[in-house]
Symmetry: C2
Subunit: 198 residues, 2 copies
């Protein structure tokens, strides 16, 4: 006698399929551009017929939304347990480089996360929460070095974000801006004068 699959097992399978779909969606977005994403292409890659996607996502927008949340989730997982150096310059450089490398690795992902590239797309509350989580984490990291002014945090995000933009737009795959990150952090440290972490 065979038992029926436990509901736990079913849920796991469902989740796995969802992830397969998202993986395919990311692949398409990377290869053809975020705005060129189509349900057909995604379905083909997963080995499904397009209508079957609707068993897992209620619309194309829901896929964009899941991608958005997933991207921020992945980055959050990557930074949430890191231990930063006590010395401000080294720590801030690590923060900047981690974000830079993550962002530069995938233009489509960066466009979805940080630019308003998909017309009418607005992340759901749940997905947006992940982005907020990451920014809060950055705020706490900076605060540990005495950087608490909102203007100082804004300065930091603008500086690192600007480097990412230039790298992606004008030297994709290269290091023209990446290699200037240490210099950037030096500038920032001189300006904001963070103190050594306690």
């Amino acid at each position: 006698m065979l038992g029926t699959p436990s509901s736990d097992r079913i849920a796991k399978r469902r989740e796995a399929t969802r992830r397969e779909i998202l993986d395919a969606a990311w692949a398409v977005a990377r290869e053809q551009g975020l705005g060129a994403l189509t349900l057909r292409e995604v379905a083909v890659r997963v080995g499904m017929r397009p209508p079957s996607l609707y068993s897992h996502f209620e619309s194309k927008d829901a896929i964009y939304d899941a991608m958005y949340g997933q991207a921020w989730q992945i980055f959050h997982d990557q930074v949430k347990d890191r231990v930063l150096p006590k010395e401000p310059r080294a720590a801030l450089l690590e923060i900047a480089e981690t974000f830079f490398d993550f962002a530069v690795a995938d233009l489509a992902r960066f466009q979805l996360m940080n630019q308003r590239s998909v017309p009418d797309f607005v992340p759901s509350k749940e997905s947006y929460a992940m982005a907020v989580e990451v920014l809060d984490r950055l705020r706490r990291d900076l605060a540990a070095f005495g950087v608490t002014d909102e203007s100082d945090v804004d300065l930091f995000t603008a500086l690192t974000g600007g480097f990412v933009d230039q790298q992606l737009a004008n030297d994709p795959g290269g290091t023209r801006w990446r290699r200037q990150l240490p210099r950037l952090i030096d500038m920032y440290v001189k300006e904001v004068k963070p103190r050594r972490r306690r």
Copy 2:
């Protein structure tokens, strides 16, 4: 007896229609997003049927291309005759603010000019030339203050571009980053040490 319109007059009329179409295209892009631009919507606004657009542009891509070139052209016109202060700090601030204000005034335009927002769109040689022109102009402007290292120029574009990005993405219509531009220029001046213009 009526004469026939001079070929000069005909050319003027053609050019005017082209501009009308581009104006409509910009309006759609601003209102609905750059990626949501459709020939139908553009035609409706101009008061034409969609196929008529093909008398003026050979494809949708050609419209994107003309928009791209036009945007850089407009910005170039805006800066080509300006006389900068001799004092480095004031001059660099003016350069940064001019670019910032222009970019922040229109998200769709900024996306077309500086981000890779439209899948597969590659500007034609002629349109791209306008962008190069502007960058050359910036190089000459900076050179007048002794800023000639490519890395210093790259730093400047990344800093100002980053501010634009943050302003558009996280405080559209506001001044959260705009008001920190003087501070940014102070940082840059300390780092690069431009000399007074001769």
